[in-house]
């Protein structure tokens, strides 16, 4: 496999780096502290057409590739993981299923708005009783004439309240289990749809995470995404793709933590010399830089697989498992190198450690990734 | 082209509203030295409208001869009428060297003239010497953001032209009572040269003293932490009767105005005292202040390059030392006055 980036990918990376450094990083601490949605970033992403990077120009996308998009999530997350979550949930989860499963009419109606960022997208699968085991869906959808009526609730929904469209999963035929789940495109203005309480989270404070409530929510029949009963497949395929985005976010967090730490250990002195002169620091850094580079290679391999292969569940799961656990490990060890200062909010490292944890949990926990990987190993 | 025909060191005199810019006097001083080494004379080229009142000043600061074009089309400055006059004078009088100030006027006019005459031009020189053997002008200037110095020659073309950084050269001793002969050059500035109209002049309102004119400068860098901390520099400067200056970092960060920036992309200063507070001393900064007579640097980082040019370096936090210094100076000055 060729890991040399093309000239356009190189230039795109330079662009993402500049935007992250100049525009995203200066706001990261404030967004975390105030637990507020990164609206400035969203505005900027709209202006510079970051909201549909991997999608075809036919639908108003940028016409780049998956790897370029993942590099964007990586670089943005280096500066602010919560902003990375917003972008990744919109692109990988909110838009992707419509690109891949939408009818011509649905694509024409929603994609230009999603790819331009006029609409923000979201994805609603998780329920209080259906997390890792998505088949426990309680939300119901009943066809009544020209529309479905949805009842139930979803939790932990990223971009909730700010999103304009939600890809929502609900049972159309409970008796069929997984095969009774269907997917719908729900607009925020549909009657009976509302956003519930906002979660108070350990990390990614800037990401809006809320409950969604469906009370006799009217969804036009033409907003059924894919065929009835195909919802579970759509959800799983979307998550395969979304996991690469989370891997990119996790990688970015680790890289961001390393950048901060390398700067710090050169400046901070103990016993009369910079921390960087101590062998403990040097060896810790060597390990972390190496594992982070390995994480990047796994991620890029998965991103390229998405562009070239039909199935890439295994590559995606490996990338997410490794990048997420690396992010947790690296941020923890970096914080240790910072010592007491690292534990304070004066430095960004504690935020990065809090942000890293979620990458081991959402869009399939690390345990779910191991289930996927072992299934392929034992095949 | 016969090189022997080209003689004399010419200085383009920059005047705005009949006030001569300081850099022109500095150039006359330098030109005097160069002319002595070349065995020739200094000619001041004065372009403007109603400028006859300026002859004495030019004589005083080193002009052996004055060429003047006095025409309403020369006030205010626009490029082409000035370029036409300089080109005509160069063709007629054939100077060996022409010097311009590296100012917003000189750096616009000189290249236009160089292209018209078809000769070389060296920008932003900080050193000018005469080659002992060839008598050619050796022009030294910073390049790569001040990281390296390059010495440039213009061996096969005349005149040899340079723009020179303001604040770098020293004025000559005034020639009291000397009156240089004045020759009015008869040039008609036709409509073909007047393609640009100045419709409005907006003066930058500033009650601050130009840092290039200040005898004492208290300069702050990134180590000052935040813009509010520049207040303590102001207080120190006030006690010493000086001005506040800044490194590029603080200008880029929007803490202070660009007009107090010292360095490669700012101003070159040579005050009698320069106190650098929380300035690490990037080479670009050093380029603008290392000629100061006495440099005192306060910085937390013992490896800061500013210490390499400082006469006295103090390793410590400017944020605590500066207020302390201001207080002690007040005491010291009060004591002295009491005596």
């Amino acid at each position: 496999m060729d890991f040399i980036l093309s000239k356009e990918q190189e230039m795109a990376r330079t662009l993402f780096r500049e935007v992250a450094e100049n525009e995203i990083k200066p706001l990261a601490a404030e967004i975390d502290e105030e637990e507020r949605f990164p609206e400035e970033a969203l505005k900027l992403f709209r202006k510079y057409k970051f909201m549909g990077i991997p999608y075809s120009k036919e639908y108003g996308g940028a016409g780049c590739d998956t790897l370029t998009y993942e590099m964007c999530v990586e670089e943005i997350s280096k500066a602010c993981a919560a902003t990375g979550t917003m972008l990744s949930a919109h692109t990988s989860l909110g838009t992707w299923p419509i690109v891949n499963y939408g009818t011509a009419e649905q694509k024409a109606k929603y994609l230009p708005k999603l790819c331009s960022g006029e609409y923000l997208g979201a994805f609603a699968l998780t329920e209080p009783g259906a997390g890792t085991d998505a088949s426990g869906q309680q939300t119901k959808a009943v066809l009544e004439g020209d529309h479905y009526v949805l009842n139930g609730s979803k939790i932990f929904i990223t971009n909730a309240g700010y999103a304009d469209t939600y890809v929502v999963f609900a049972m159309t035929d409970k008796s069929k289990g997984n095969h009774g789940i269907s997917a719908f495109i729900v607009e925020k203005s549909f009657p009976g749809f509302s956003v519930g309480k906002k979660e108070k989270k350990m990390g990614i404070h800037g990401s809006a995470t809320c409950e969604l409530i469906f009370e006799n929510c009217i969804v036009p029949k033409e907003n059924l995404l894919g065929k009835e009963g195909k919802g579970f497949n759509i959800a799983m395929a979307t998550l395969d793709n979304g996991r690469i985005g989370i891997a990119a976010q996790a990688l970015g967090i680790a890289e961001g933590a390393l950048d901060e730490t390398i700067k710090y250990v050169k400046e901070r002195k103990q016993f009369g010399r910079p921390l960087a002169k101590f062998q403990n620091t040097q060896f810790q850094l060597a390990d972390m830089v190496t594992s982070t580079k390995a994480a990047q290679l796994l991620l890029y391999r998965a991103a390229m697989a998405e562009d070239t292969k039909k199935r890439y569940s295994e590559e995606a799961a490996m990338a997410k498992l490794f990048c997420a656990s690396n992010a947790m490990d690296v941020t923890t060890r970096c914080l240790q190198l910072f010592g007491g200062y690292g534990y304070t909010r004066e430095y960004p490292i504690e935020r990065m450690m809090r942000d890293a944890k979620i990458t081991e949990i959402y869009e399939g926990t690390s345990e779910v990734q191991r289930m996927v990987i072992s299934k392929y190993a034992l095949k | 082209m016969s090189f022997e025909d080209y003689k004399g060191v010419y200085v383009f005199v920059q005047q705005v509203e009949s006030k001569i810019d300081n850099v022109s006097f500095e150039l006359l001083g330098k030109a005097k030295e160069l002319a002595n080494n070349m065995g020739t004379e200094v000619t001041a080229v004065l372009l403007g409208s109603k400028v006859s009142g300026l002859y004495d000043e030019l004589s005083k600061w080193g002009a052996d001869k004055i060429l003047v074009v006095d025409d309403p089309a020369l006030e205010p400055y626009t490029t082409e009428p000035y370029a036409y006059c300089m080109d005509s004078i160069i063709r007629k009088y054939k100077p060996a060297v022409v010097l311009y100030g590296a100012t917003a006027i000189g750096r616009d006019l000189a290249p236009r003239v160089a292209a018209r005459v078809g000769t070389g031009l060296t920008a932003d020189c900080t050193k000018l010497e005469v080659d002992a053997e060839t008598k050619d002008l050796r022009m030294t200037r910073p390049a790569f953001g001040g990281n390296i110095m390059a010495t440039i020659l213009c061996p096969e073309h005349r005149p040899q032209m340079a723009t020179v950084r303001p604040g770098v050269m020293e004025k000559a001793k005034p020639q009291a009572g000397f009156k240089a002969p004045v020759e009015v050059v008869d040039l008609k500035i036709g409509a073909e040269h007047k393609n640009v109209d100045v419709v409005k002049i907006i003066k930058k309102v500033s009650n601050k003293i130009d840092i290039q004119d200040a005898k004492i400068l208290v300069a702050g860098g990134r180590g000052m932490g935040k813009p509010e901390n520049f207040k303590m520099l102001r207080e120190l400067a006030d006690v010493l009767g000086g001005e506040v200056a800044s490194s590029r970092a603080c200008v880029d960060a929007g803490w202070v105005e660009k007009d107090i920036q010292v360095g490669q992309t700012g101003k070159t200063v040579r005050p009698s005292l320069y106190i650098a507070c929380g300035i690490s001393g990037a080479i670009q900064h050093l380029a603008g202040m290392e000629e100061s007579d006495l440099i005192i640097a306060i910085n937390k980082d013992q490896y800061a390059p500013i210490f390499e040019v400082a006469d006295y370096g103090i390793i410590g936090d400017a944020l605590t030392i500066v207020p302390e210094l201001t207080a002690k100076l007040k005491e010291a000055i009060a004591e002295k006055e009491a005596v």
Partner: protein, 261 residues
């Protein structure tokens, strides 16, 4: 309206460091960027395009690698790009460079030419006005704002202590100050299009109407006699006082010694 913007690829001199042992420049690993003043000029041109409609063409003289800044300019929104490149152009000083670029510009339609005031590697500010002279058009340097109305361009021209608001008829050349605006970013899609769907046209020696004696090293009146690392004056006394008070006392004593107070 046809606007031509001249851009140069330069090493990011903010990241240039000196080898502490040899005193020579470390150029390795120093990223190449679009010269900041040129980028501001490009932004000004793109704003005129946004507001009034214009065709923006970018021109760069340099080695084949300078292709990158032209792609970048297209990814920001420029319509067309020319690379003026030939071994014969190498070693040019500002006069030979401006002669070459002016010859290239004669091949391209223009109403307005915008260059950066100066490049951060050379800091000369000479090429813009020299191009204007070769083309026989007016120039306005140090622009902080550019407005166009009909065939007239109005420029806020910066001086040390004042501004001139000047008007000139097009065609003319303006040199832009980096501080005049904040250049837009590229777009990811713009980058991919710039590489995959657009071309950088090349102009070489044979395409230009110039004499061999006017270009490259031969056409350059100036010669670099030598270059050397900047010599610093050398450090004086460096002390580490125990606290702020003793630091202040130390300075006051030195100022007394030097009769400054």
């Amino acid at each position: 309206m046809n606007i031509v913007v001249c851009v140069k690829q330069v090493p990011n001199t903010n990241e240039v460091k000196l080898d502490p042992k040899t005193g020579t420049l470390i150029r390795e690993g120093v990223p190449s960027i679009m010269n900041p003043d040129d980028k501001a000029g490009l932004e000004a041109a793109l704003e005129l395009k946004d507001n009034l409609g214009a065709r923006v063409t970018v021109v760069s003289m340099g080695p084949p690698q300078a292709d990158t800044v032209l792609r970048e300019a297209m990814a920001m929104g420029a319509d067309e790009a020319y690379l003026v490149t030939d071994r014969a152009f190498g070693g040019a000083d500002t006069l030979a460079t401006s002669t070459t670029i002016a010859a290239a510009l004669k091949k391209i339609p223009y109403d307005l030419i915008i260059t950066g005031r100066q490049a951060i590697d050379g800091d000369t500010a000479q090429v813009g006005p020299e191009i204007a002279e070769h083309l026989g058009i007016p120039n306005v340097s140090y622009a902080e704002d550019i407005q166009v109305e009909g065939d007239t361009v109005t420029v806020k021209r910066q001086y040390e202590d004042r501004y001139h608001i000047v008007k000139a008829k097009m065609p003319c050349l303006i040199t832009a100050l980096g501080a005049m605006n904040k250049p837009r970013y590229m777009t990811p899609g713009g980058i991919f299009d710039a590489y995959r769907e657009r071309e950088v046209k090349t102009l070489t020696r044979k395409d230009l109407d110039v004499q061999d004696t006017e270009i490259g090293l031969k056409g350059s009146p100036t010669r670099v006699a030598k270059s050397f690392p900047k010599q610093l004056k050398g450090s004086g006394t460096v002390v580490t006082p125990s606290d702020a008070e003793s630091a202040a006392e130390y300075i006051v004593d030195r100022l007394k010694e030097k009769f400054i107070i």
